[in-house]
């Protein structure tokens, strides 16, 4: 395979198969690798802005970006991401940046609009890579990412059962690797490796994780040190990445992009997406936490994340009513901020009994 260029991205809603079908390697800009980049984002934007966005911007400003970068695709998921696009364009004007409009609603008009947007993205990707993401290529890439998602999910289930060597930290390392390099070799490895070495019997209190960005494997190692055994997650750097897109043709008979738009908007949602379900975010969380056999829920959200912060009180009420203990932690994508929560996490584990 000839050397493919990388395509940087930041959001779990990014249509990875489309990028792959255009002959590019999607590379998620993880905030954890930004430790070395000096803190400049606050001056260019504002200090009180999403730490994820700030750290990604710091990486960009410090040039800590993948080699052989064709361009950057940002999803218009929230105010902070839109400001990231503004800052990137202003301070690195030679980079190719595409900001994709991402509907907050998921009905048929939104799907149709988003399908058009994906079409625009497809044409831009082709310009950047010289390879058109044709229907056939897209179908093949979708299949590849579906297999990758399934393989990662199998690992995740083993981690949830406490059977993955290295625990959830290892799972996160795997996931981080899966989104920062070519998917093919990793898929081969995961499929070829079989079940892998069995782990020692897992200990710890079963807890479900909910929230947004938590990509540092060290954070999961710390949770385990505090006596937590993660049995499931709803994090955008966790299970909301590489979800297995639903199979089957588009019921409306549309082509690949229409299907891709529909399935992308139907993925497990970030709080910025308006969910139609009557019970909303809280109901989904309760159902998943119970199904995973969790004794409690730890919510980890980034500071200044309006979509999540606004939903926390309702979440708290719903979990309290259902008798499910909840611990809310705010973070800033550093292990230091997680470390400050050690006592809370240990106290929570002691409380769960």
């Amino acid at each position: 395979m000839s050397e493919r260029q990388a395509l940087a991205y930041t959001c779990a809603y990014t249509p990875l198969p489309l990028i792959h079908a255009a002959g590019l390697v999607p590379h998620r800009l993880l905030p954890t690798e930004a430790q070395e980049a000096p803190d400049q984002a606050g001056a260019h934007l504002h200090d009180n802005l999403c730490p994820h966005v700030k750290r990604v911007l710091d990486r960009a400003l410090a040039g800590a970006l993948p080699d052989n970068l064709a361009g950057v695709v940002l999803m218009g998921s929230c105010d902070a991401m839109r400001r990231l696009a503004d800052a990137w364009r202003a301070w690195r004007p030679d980079d190719r940046v595409f900001l994709a409009d991402l509907p907050a609603t998921t009905g048929p008009e939104a799907v149709s609009f988003f399908a058009d947007e994906l079409g625009r993205l497809a044409r831009v990707l082709e310009e950047w890579s010289g390879q058109a993401p044709t229907e056939d290529r897209l179908a093949a890439s979708v299949e590849l990412y579906r297999s990758l998602g399934a393989a990662v999910e199998r690992r995740r289930r083993r981690a949830a059962r406490g059977e993955l060597h290295g625990g959830w930290a290892e799972l996160q390392r795997l996931l981080n690797g899966a989104v920062t390099g070519p998917p093919e070799p990793l898929l081969d490895e995961l499929q070829g490796r079989g079940e892998g070495a069995p782990a020692a019997r897992a200990r710890g209190t079963p807890v479900y994780l909910f929230g947004n960005v938590m990509s540092d494997p060290g954070a999961f190692a710390m949770l385990e040190e505090c006596g937590v055994r993660v049995v499931g997650d709803d994090l955008c750097t966790g299970s909301r990445q590489l979800t297995t897109l639903d199979a089957g043709p588009d019921p409306d008979g549309g082509g690949g992009l229409s299907w891709l738009a529909r399935t992308t908007l139907a993925r497990p949602p970030c709080a910025r997406t308006m969910i139609d379900e009557a019970e909303g975010l809280a109901g989904r969380l309760l159902a998943r936490a119970r199904a995973a056999g969790a004794r409690g829920v730890i919510t980890h959200v980034l500071k200044f994340c309006d979509p999540y912060l606004a939903r926390l009180p309702a979440l708290r009420d719903a979990l309290r009513e259902a008798g499910v203990p909840l611990l809310v932690l705010e973070g800033d994508c550093t292990l230091r901020s997680m470390g400050q929560h050690r006592t809370r996490i240990e106290a929570f584990v002691e409380m769960l009994g």
Binding site: P325, Q340, T343, R344, E346, A347, E350, M351, G353
Partner: protein, 262 residues
């Protein structure tokens, strides 16, 4: 056989010994200072001396507080949350809400009918509402911490409100108030009510309503009757304070040592 609980806080290191029957045999408080290993050793030595027993009689030790992982030979390190709950359960059975205001942090713990932790909230980022706040204010007022409760009693208006939520700004606000001629007693009363307001906000995170809840306070700041009465007024509930409120955590740790040892 005795059981040892050690609470290594940022300001003081407290040690409590209980016997098989869960009765307190001795207790000791030493300043933590810069070297907590030495403080731990001093507290340990001191409490054993007080009890007139030697090291071999200690069947098990449980450590709590921010330095809990530095205690050698411990059976377990248990958080202050769980230890305070256990301690107050022994001292004031039936307590459902415990407010602990320490030197650097404050906690609110909701207990269930069996005295187990049902929910908790911690403020360990901001000095407002903690002992540190009072220290800074006492400095600004040029009074002793120990005199605050008496000064509060002398206040007659009891309506002065600080506008600053932040400890740093509040200190300068206090200085300005003095310059403008406000009475020290009224300022002190205002400070106590400010702590009570922060406490109320912390409590609300875990208990939207406190009607019918038996409330207790622990931590060094609970020795200040002015704060206790302000918290009581803010919550609209009577507040009980155990004797030696700053040793509740260490007592809880000792009792947990007793339980876990079997």
């Amino acid at each position: 056989m005795v059981y040892l609980g050690i609470d290594i806080g940022s300001l003081s290191c407290d040690a409590v010994l209980v016997d098989e029957g869960e009765r307190v045999v001795a207790w000791r408080v030493v300043p933590t200072g810069a070297r907590n290993l030495e403080a731990i050793a001093a507290a340990r030595r001191g409490v054993l001396e007080q009890a007139g027993v030697d090291e071999v009689s200690v069947a098990a030790t449980v450590a709590t507080g921010y330095g809990r992982n530095r205690v050698d030979g411990r059976l377990a390190a248990v958080t202050e949350i769980t230890c305070h709950a256990r301690g107050v359960r022994a001292l004031l059975p039936g307590t459902r809400l415990l407010v602990d205001i320490g030197g650097q942090d404050s906690k609110a713990i909701l207990l269930d009918g069996e005295g187990r932790v049902a929910e908790f909230a911690m403020n360990d980022k901001c000095a407002a509402g903690t002992g540190r706040f009072l220290e800074a204010m006492a400095r600004g007022l040029q009074v002793e911490l120990a005199d605050l409760a008496e000064l509060d009693r002398q206040a007659t208006e009891r309506t002065l409100t600080l506008s600053s939520m932040c400890t740093v700004f509040a200190e300068s606000e206090v200085v300005s108030l003095i310059a403008e001629g406000a009475a020290v007693a009224e300022i002190v009363n205002g400070l106590h009510r400010a702590i009570a307001a922060r406490t109320q906000a912390l409590v609300r995170r875990i208990a939207p309503a406190v009607d019918g809840l038996q409330v207790a306070m622990s931590g060094g700041v609970a020795r200040n009757a002015g704060v206790v009465s302000a918290v009581s007024a803010a919550l609209g509930r009577e507040v009980s304070v155990p004797a030696e409120p700053d040793t509740v955590g260490a007592l809880g740790a000792a009792l947990i040592a007793r339980e876990r040892h079997g």
